[in-house]
Subunit: 380 residues, 4 copies
């Protein structure tokens, strides 16, 4: 695994826990953690449970005893590491956003296609696909339970930047992060829309905004926030991304990604209205899927608050009795399960690098539309 | 109509509005308002839309041009007025609680039975039966949609007495009000349980508490609260009533009535669990009934948030399009509709005085149990 | 009052009820109802409580005993009636949308300005401004309780057209209704955004869609729906309107209006995020305003579910004790109260025709943007 | 660890995960798993990550390399194992209910007191104390944020027995389980009430019911449910427990525990009303605490939906950014953290066996009251 910050912690927990609850075809071994500082990497490896430490990822991708490389670093490093690992015949899991630029994403997707022919498989870490309630949403849509998709409304609302004195971090630096709310969290709701509807966003009309132009330079870092000092530096990414979209079928959709919505901590809200029903989800109540079935008689029809904790629900048979809900990091456990199973079966895991590229193309179209008076901009 | 305070205002609105939305067999005429002070009664009549004023209800019950007497005074006056009106051949609507003592309630019920034989009908104003969502709950239970009733949990929570300096009012005076939270609001949830389940409470085990023994004497009054002065007087009623109960079928139930639950303004919460489903209601979201159908497949089962505003829902065809909800006073409108229709048809309106007596007997058993170490006390 | 359908019923109820709960400077007299069919108008007048009937509104605007004309007809008639009434020195209340075309709206606004100089005042019936929770939202924003407005997300979701066999009505005919979801319900959320934020929408980027191109011709009508026959006719308005917007301050906003969102009956949802807090509202729980105060300490900060039924809340002192909520038509009562008070004081009621025109200009810009590849289109 | 079923899995996960997120003073080693069947125990040990297997717990409590014994077996075995382990100088964690009889619990508590003097510490596994939202509730109450406790309403609702064909398991056998809903889930809400209020239940008035007298004998088992065969056997425990209670301060409380509430999967609901505010919790939305502060001005007062995921919240600094919630098994992780820290500090962990005994005494009083016409029964 390369990187050991927020995502590194989540991925480590996933590798550790998955085989304890699921029957995996392979037993994952947490072998080597990569970090630039040997001391800090060693400390992280002890805490997170990795056997060894390396300071250069290049050495790791060459090792024979490494089957899979898990990339948890900022987006500007993804392309180089992933293509090298794939070229070396390793399976690759890369955190989202897949890359910071469309060109990098295209290179990676091409590398992934080539590597797949050689048996090296790859996956992008859009972990929210593995929220059981959202996997159920996808299944219900695929089964036709809401009919044809007519409208999508998707929001990803956080508030950790609402305070203008929240410090700068790499997530606010275009060079490191590629974009702001758009790539960090907007990417998730685009991917979730692709996942749930089985369609793609084919065009967008967008606005991007930066509300706070300068912030204190961070003197220490946390998972998302850190502590700021007296110096201030520029914010070079968007604080807010709003866009209209068309899906493959022509259905309209609205998207909003922001880290300035006071009181919304991690509110991924997706509502899909179809010709025969609707589903609605909010990550702040992540074990619940709301489902409206238009076939119910009008007297007793209403959104059903489905507690997605039954043995029949995706991933849930492995866990606890009904009503005993899961948390955030379980999505990473499920991601590991799906990845290991696909690798063992020699099948393409999803979301593939092509799926990641599809999201990247939407983000790119959003930026181009926003720079062109919000004019409707086809995705490629 | 006798009395013109909180309930008098609600009843006046009901008489005024009912014929504008419903096809009533008779067109009600708001003829005469009774109040002890001629000036204040005249002022109220103008405001509330009554044609005349009387200061003595005895003169009204003798008038030939009065068909129905609507009694909105405190409970200690109900028995005398109601029996006189019934004896004079008038139909009677009496606010709940029907009476302050069991003896009075029995007298009234006997009078009602006798008068009914002469064509004078009577009804108790348990208006919450006319919340469309609760009428729907009753219908669903009666249709077997939740199977046999296994458990009831009923709470009526308010907070207008949580402040120890909220002033004394007649509602805190045992001589006027009969009891405190028990009769004022506990009576409603007992009646609603009777209504929804079609069963009766047959025994109880209870605790009554008075949290604040003395309060400022009121210097002015509002609907529930008023303004207090420097003098303090004793609270002679219960502040909280909690009781366990058995229904006719043997099903257990829990009840709580309190005016001390900070943040709960008028939270009538009823949840009925049956062998085949469940219903749940909270008046703070009064246009909604939550319904769980155990026949739904486990993957998509969940409490359905039914917005009870469809034309197929009780009373709703007369009002607005779906989603355009009703408010508190609409229950009084529906009460008038049901009363006028029953009177026109010569049928017993519900809840009858016998229904009111049944509630009164439960309240009496609660008081006796609370005075006897909470020992299970049959309802007569 | 001209017109007696859905809106006519709501307005009649408002004129009837307002003086019973509020101290009005004038006592409204419900004098004359106008309808083209004398029989049906007479029947409606009896039901709704109007003293007389006319078949031609022109006669009414000339009568000396009429002070105010309340226009509840479809949008294509508003301009002619309103300008005539204003020219005759009558005060005017006109239902929304103010007009079907921008040109008509401009004419009306000019007429209103001229009439105001002569003492004839006018108001547009954006009744949702009078939901107490939304009036409170406006007050909190005006008081700075959420700081500066950063983002608005506004949706108006209904589902009465989701069924493709729901019949045609005048609301689906561009000639009568002007536009579809956009003018019918989108107008409300634009006006509410203006009202709550105190800002104007200054530009939009939009998409309009018609999902169902043909529908059964209606053989009878209800408030929103009716019954359809075997013939089918074209839908000439939008079924869905989505748009991005900029407010005067530059803040971005997202809007969606649709009558195809299964399970959402009348879901007016407004969320405003500011620099110091946020407010959120959903009409399906209309007595509640959710309020987040960023000044609360982090341990106990959270959206406050404010039950807007306290005497200190807008309009509520006139009604019931806390927790005894209001319904849909109360907004019309409050509208009458505000209108009568403004007229008595000789002050401009709000929303004025200029406010209505401002909304109309936004709707016009939405249509132009949708016709131009969603390009950002300034509001005039 | 003794036992490896539902609770064994949860405890194993806790021992595995705790040191990865928290700075523990000792690094736990998962040494030996005890099970009667060597094959099944070995299989479980592999899956759950224990180094060795034993078939007799007696050998384990004698081993020098074992510091702590974690007892996850049914309640009828707790007393013997726990007292032996304590006598052998081991620290002990025992799942709830502490014991099946009051006598056993008293023996255990005495043993714990004696062992503590020798440095062997003990704890009962009331894991729900470690839900961050409930730990926050306790803190707020202790800090006086809701004033003095006036009323408690506590429910624990499940539905896995609502189906009359759900099979028999040891949880329905009085000899193994001690009692039914009362001890299985009622014990939790009694302990939580003790924990949150800092008071004890001092007397109760109770009703116990068994709704389904016979069930299919289980042919296989799951965490809570299994598969039933054609034979039927008797249910010897309660299906439902309802009771009124008095706390030390005299405050009244209501309790309900049932596994027959259709649609409620694991609804632990606690609401505490105090003189200055209130808190409300439902495990079905476990990352949320609702908090009402009566000091808020009436215009903006309302239950605050606090998402208990901030770094300032109990246990949360170790986990993820705000809004990234936890799940059921995290409570066991926190339990391990608190236990290891207390043991390292040589301090009594909570809840102690005396705390467990206090709950057991309440359960015993409930059974005695239910057998005595619900008469108020002091807790010893």
């Amino acid at each position: 695994m390369v990187g050991y910050a927020f995502m590194g912690r989540a991925h480590s927990q996933a590798w550790r826990v998955a085989p304890r609850f699921f029957d995996l075809p392979h037993d994952p071994v947490m072998q080597v953690l990569v970090g630039r500082s040997p001391e800090r990497a060693a400390q992280a490896a002890r805490r997170l449970g990795w056997a060894e430490v390396e300071t250069d990822w290049r050495r790791v991708v060459e090792r024979d005893d490494v089957d899979l490389v898990d990339i948890c670093t900022p987006g500007d490093t993804h392309a180089e590491i992933a293509t090298a690992a794939l070229a070396a015949g390793k399976h690759v899991l890369v955190e989202k956003p897949m890359a910071n630029t469309l060109a990098e994403a295209e290179t990676m997707a091409a590398a992934a296609r080539a590597a797949a022919a050689q048996g090296a498989l790859s996956m992008v870490g859009f972990s929210y696909r593995r929220v059981p309630a959202l996997a159920l949403a996808r299944d219900l849509v695929a089964e036709g339970r809401i009919g044809e998709v007519r409208q999508v409304r998707a929001q990803y609302l956080q508030d950790w930047l609402a305070d203008p004195d929240a410090p700068l971090s790499w997530r606010l630096d275009k060079a490191r992060a590629g974009s702001g709310a758009l790539g960090d969290i907007g990417a998730h709701i685009v991917d979730l829309t692709h996942f749930i509807t089985g369609q793609r966003v084919v065009g967008v009309s967008a606005m991007l905004d930066t509300f706070v132009a300068e912030r204190p330079v961070a003197t220490s870092t946390g998972a998302l926030r850190g502590t700021g000092g007296a110096d201030r530096g520029p914010v070079t990414v968007d604080d807010s991304a709003v866009f209209l979209a068309r899906l493959s079928s022509g259905a309209p959709a609205t998207f909003e990604a922001t880290r300035f919505a006071w009181g919304r901590k991690n509110a991924i809200r997706i509502e899909v209205s179809g010709t025969a029903g609707a589903i609605a989800f909010d990550f702040e109540d992540m074990n619940v899927l709301n489902f409206f079935d238009a076939a119910d008689d009008a007297r007793t029809a209403g959104f059903r608050r489905v507690l997605v904790t039954e043995p029949d629900h995706p991933y849930m048979a492995a866990w606890w009795p009904a009503g005993h809900g899961l948390g955030y990091e379980h999505t990473f456990v499920h991601q590991v399960v799906d990845l290991v199973e696909a690798v063992a079966a020699g099948e393409q895991p999803t979301p593939s690098f092509d799926d990641g590229l599809a999201v990247q193309r939407v983000l790119d179209a959003v930026e181009r539309s926003a720079a062109s008076h919000s004019t409707f901009t086809p995705v490629d």
